[in-house]
């Protein structure tokens, strides 16, 4: 999944104690959510963000920023995550439980709580959720596509505007029941139901395009007062939110003021100095490395900084069709992880070296090591050269590495990273052909499976959408991506892998965990489609008047509703 609104990103992983899947579900949680006795009420929090969500439409959202805003503040879904002592727990939200699955595992039924009201005072109905799910099919260009893969008839359905209201994948037999009909078993559906795509939308209020988001009816504790794309979002309290029905959210602040498109460095300097409004400002863009001494552990401003895993593993993608396994292994040895990491402006605040594809906070994570794949170190050109020679490549017949890189990045990072990589790989005996293109063009070029490259195609990493590896591997290594004209990790198209994926997905949520861990090791040992590089971390920097900032390890963002401020 996509980590942030624009840049192909860098964020999230946790090193906390690994949860078992079972422990992270609490089907019996009831509202109201416990409130912190130290919490102060009132005030406004300013949140600054360098990029801007292109809309606040719940059907189209797939990003960390807008996701954090909607799931925590304005939009309730069937289920939700809560943070309990640093652990993420899945609880029922609009639903009364975490869903009932039929014995053939193809039908999921959710019962809704009664008396849930929209911000305009009208009552929510089950049909609104069914409509919202159908509606999400119209926005798959920008939103997630799990519903397309799993819901019955999802591969044909194009949403209510084009394909009409009839869709076999979901129904609302009465006002308080929502039933999902699946094309194949989907053990982790209750995780998917936390998505805003499952937040109710009354069909009558739909504007039929993303402008719905500007005035979307809220079910959460806050509602949109105004949204100006590219610059600002203002949230105020939702008077029709009933805490008693909500086990996941609290309402401390009077409102939130989101500023988009701000200058990160300037904001971070302001927050560190906490002058004026910066005292109550929070910024969750990656912190500039030069501030690390101030905010790192033991630093004078350490109290203004919270960090935690985000959901992403950053990788270096290789085209397995064009690079033989032996060369891929040599590449893994030659790759200058550390130099590139530092050249990218990354520090220990930004991530941790990764040696597996699954990040450690996912249940079932297997802590294995494939020799040479540590995600760190300066690279070993001598050894790599020897490996290449063994594979039949030498100075007279060098192996050619081709890659695209962004050449219009004003911070120059992509260009210097490319330079360093080129030098280091050449030192190991590779021939490197680097092609500079504008960032926006690169995105297109590296998404073309037939493009003229052999490393660095998309995805350059993966962020899980829910804490189970079935939101990691099926989308990244199954052959479906390549079949539909896209790219995946290693540009893999292997029936053995597909079969293994299918096998694991059929298991129950608790059983899947360890199996994914083994799959990870198997994949890396036998295929080596990508080089794991680092597990991204979220950075949250805030003014001295901001309190109770907690990182959401599943999303790599602050849990917005739990924050309070001094006035």
């Amino acid at each position: 999944s996509a980590p942030s609104s624009t840049t192909n990103g860098t964020s999230d992983t946790s090193t906390g104690p690994v949860q078992t899947a079972g422990a992270s579900l609490d089907p019996n949680a009831k509202g109201p959510a416990p409130t912190d006795p130290k919490a102060k009420k009132g005030g406004t929090l300013t949140i600054s963000y360098a990029t801007s969500p292109s809309s606040m439409d719940p059907s189209a959202q797939f990003y960390q920023d807008s996701g954090a805003i909607m799931t925590r503040l304005t939009m309730r879904s069937l289920t939700a995550f809560v943070n309990r002592g640093g652990k993420q727990v899945l609880v029922p939200d609009l639903a009364t439980d975490l869903g009932q699955v039929s014995s053939d595992k193809l039908t999921w039924t959710f019962k809704l709580k009664s008396g849930i009201k929209y911000s305009d005072g009208s009552t929510m109905k089950a049909a609104d959720i069914a409509y919202a799910v159908k509606r999400s099919f119209a926005f798959t260009a920008t939103g997630p596509t799990y519903q397309v893969d799993y819901l019955k008839g999802g591969d044909k359905y194009l949403g209510p505007f084009k394909s009409g209201d009839t869709f076999a994948g979901i129904e609302a037999p009465d006002d308080s029941t929502v039933v999902f009909h699946l094309a194949k078993p989907w053990e982790t559906l209750p995780y998917f139901t936390t998505f805003t795509q499952v937040s109710p939308i009354p069909q009558a209020k739909d504007t039929k395009d993303e402008t719905y988001g500007d005035k979307a009816l809220a079910t959460g504790p806050y509602m949109i007062k105004s949204f100006t794309q590219g610059s600002e979002l203002t949230l105020v309290k939702n008077p029709n939110w009933d805490p008693a029905t909500d086990a996941a959210r609290t309402q401390y602040l009077d409102g939130y003021d989101f500023k988009f498109g701000t200058d990160t460095i300037k904001t971070q300097q302001g927050i560190l100095a906490s002058t004026g409004d910066y005292g109550t400002t929070l910024d969750w863009d990656p912190v500039d490395a030069s501030f690390a001494d101030q905010i790192g552990s033991g630093g004078p401003k350490a109290k203004q900084f919270v960090s935690g895993p985000s959901s992403c593993t950053i990788t270096v993608n290789m085209d397995t069709r064009k690079i033989p396994l032996a060369v891929r292994k040599a590449l893994a040895v030659a790759y200058p992880y550390d130099d590139l990491y530092t050249a990218s402006g990354l520090t220990s605040l930004s991530g941790r070296p990764a040696h597996t594809l699954i990040p450690p906070q996912i249940p079932g994570w297997l802590d294995y090591t494939v020799p040479g794949l540590t995600g760190q170190g300066p690279g070993d050109p001598v050894k790599a050269k020897a490996m290449l020679a063994a594979a039949g490549y030498g100075p007279d017949k060098p192996f050619e590495i081709k890659n695209y890189y962004t050449n219009d990045d004003p911070s120059n990072i992509a260009q210097t990273v490319n330079q360093i990589r080129k030098k280091k790989l050449e030192a190991a005996g590779f021939k490197v052909t680097d092609k500079g293109v504008a960032g926006k063009d690169r995105r297109k070029l590296i998404a073309d499976p037939n493009g003229d490259y052999n490393i660095g195609q998309s995805p350059g990493g993966w962020c899980f959408d829910w804490p189970s590896a079935d939101s990691i591997f099926p989308p990244t290594v199954s052959s479906t991506q390549l079949t539909s004209g896209g790219t995946n990790w290693g540009d893999l198209q292997d029936p053995k892998i597909d079969a293994e994926l299918a096998r694991i997905q059929k298991l129950s949520i608790a059983e899947q965990g360890p199996e994914w861990g083994k799959f990870d090791q198997w994949l890396m040992t036998n295929y080596l489609p990508v080089l794991p590089w680092y597990w991204d971390r979220s950075n949250i920097l805030f003014g001295t008047k901001v309190h109770n900032v907690i990182n959401d390890d599943n999303h790599g963002s602050p849990i917005l509703d739990s924050i309070w401020v001094d006035q």
Binding site: A2, T6, N8, S54, S55, F62, A138, F139, T140, A141, T142, G143, G159, P160, F161, K162, T207, K208, D209, E210, T211, S226, T228, Q229, G230, S231, E232, T234, K259, G261, T262, D263, K266, T267, Q269, G270, A273, T275, G276, D277, Y278, D408, G439, K440, D441, R443, K444, A447, D448, S458, P459, G460, Q481, S484, G485, G486, T487, N488
Partner: protein, 329 residues
């Protein structure tokens, strides 16, 4: 006078029309692919891309697209996005599929900010530049004069971006003696107050040129025969300098001002970027760098052009008020 303005406007319109065609060709026939940026971040299969392109109407011949755009400008047109048909009334600058907004709404919302920034900056640089220039001219050769000219030279030589960055950092962030910027939606007061800091830095840096120019002009004017005549009337020295001297010195300054309009707009572009001002420049840069949002780019360039042309006409008319000789020609 009327004829003069009419001719000026006709010239402006011809420039705008050509700009329209040229920008359309440059952007729509250029290498940009707006569909790509609409596609989900990491991967976008070709099929999906083609779908998006079709839904945006980008698959049709460029002439058809232009005809449609042109028509939209004058009579409006309908645009389909998602399940919706939006009517975009004239002057329709197109529809941003990226922001799901009509471009006209988007650019007109930011228009006041950019114009206000430009005008405030103009107030600053004319105020500072002209008054310092006059003082320097009247004390020609004094230490004050030399210091002022020197400082303005040095100030003008430092790359603007660095000056603006330092200014923004020190005066609005670390020692916030000047207020932060606010979008228009926060209300008029905070909005306009927020523009003070960027206007000051843009104005001050621009003023360096005006200090020197006004000074030179003023020195020239004060040597004119009619200034001597004014002095021979026995009126006060202030009156001679400000009423007779400055008035005449101003008209060449105005000419330069007219020529500077495009430069001023470019200045706001960078300033908006650095101060995070929610104006046209920022919109355009985002559209250019990040999203390839062609209709937005077109809209901002056209509107930018309109601003320059309009301000130019205003300056010309102002010029004719300053200099009565122009009124007849």
């Amino acid at each position: 006078m009327f004829i003069y303005i009419a001719r000026r406007i006709a010239l402006g319109v011809s420039v705008l029309l050509v700009t329209l065609v040229v920008t359309f060709l440059i952007f729509f026939a250029g290498p940009a692919d707006p569909a790509q940026s609409l596609c989900a971040e990491n991967r976008c299969p070709a099929v999906k891309l083609e779908q998006i392109r079709t839904s945006m109407g980008l698959d049709r011949p460029i002439s058809v697209q232009f005809a449609e755009y042109f028509q939209g400008l004058f009579v409006g047109r309908d645009i389909t996005d998602g399940g919706n048909v939006n009517h975009c009334s004239a002057p329709c600058l197109g529809y941003s599929f990226h922001n799901h907004l009509q471009v006209s709404d988007e650019v007109f919302r930011r228009f006041p900010t950019t114009v206000a920034l430009a005008l405030l900056a103009m107030v600053v640089f004319l105020g500072v530049g002209v008054s310092l220039g006059v003082v320097a001219a009247t004390r020609r050769g004094s230490a004050f004069d030399r210091t002022l000219v020197g400082v303005s030279q040095v100030f003008g030589a430092i790359p603007y971006i660095v000056v603006a960055l330092l200014f923004a950092l020190y005066f609005t962030v670390l020692y916030p003696i000047l207020p932060q910027t606010h979008p228009f939606s926060d209300g008029f007061g905070p909005w306009i107050v927020g523009l003070i800091a960027p206007a000051i830095v843009l104005g001050l840096v621009t003023s360096t040129a005006y200090v020197r120019y006004t000074r030179a002009q003023m020195v020239d004017t004060l040597a004119q025969d009619y200034v001597r005549t004014a002095r021979s009337k026995g009126i006060s020295g202030r009156s001679v300098i400000y009423k007779h001297g400055l008035r005449a010195a101003l008209s060449p300054v105005l000419t330069i001002l007219g020529l500077d309009m495009a430069g001023l707009l470019s200045g706001t572009l960078i300033t908006e970027q650095i101060f995070s001002v929610d104006g046209l420049g920022k919109l355009a840069i985002t559209a250019l760098i990040q999203t390839d949002d062609l209709p937005i780019i077109m809209g901002t360039v056209l509107l930018g052009c309109v601003i320059v042309v309009a301000l130019n006409i205003v300056v010309d008319i102002a010029y004719s008020f300053v200099d009565p000789r122009v009124r007849l020609s």
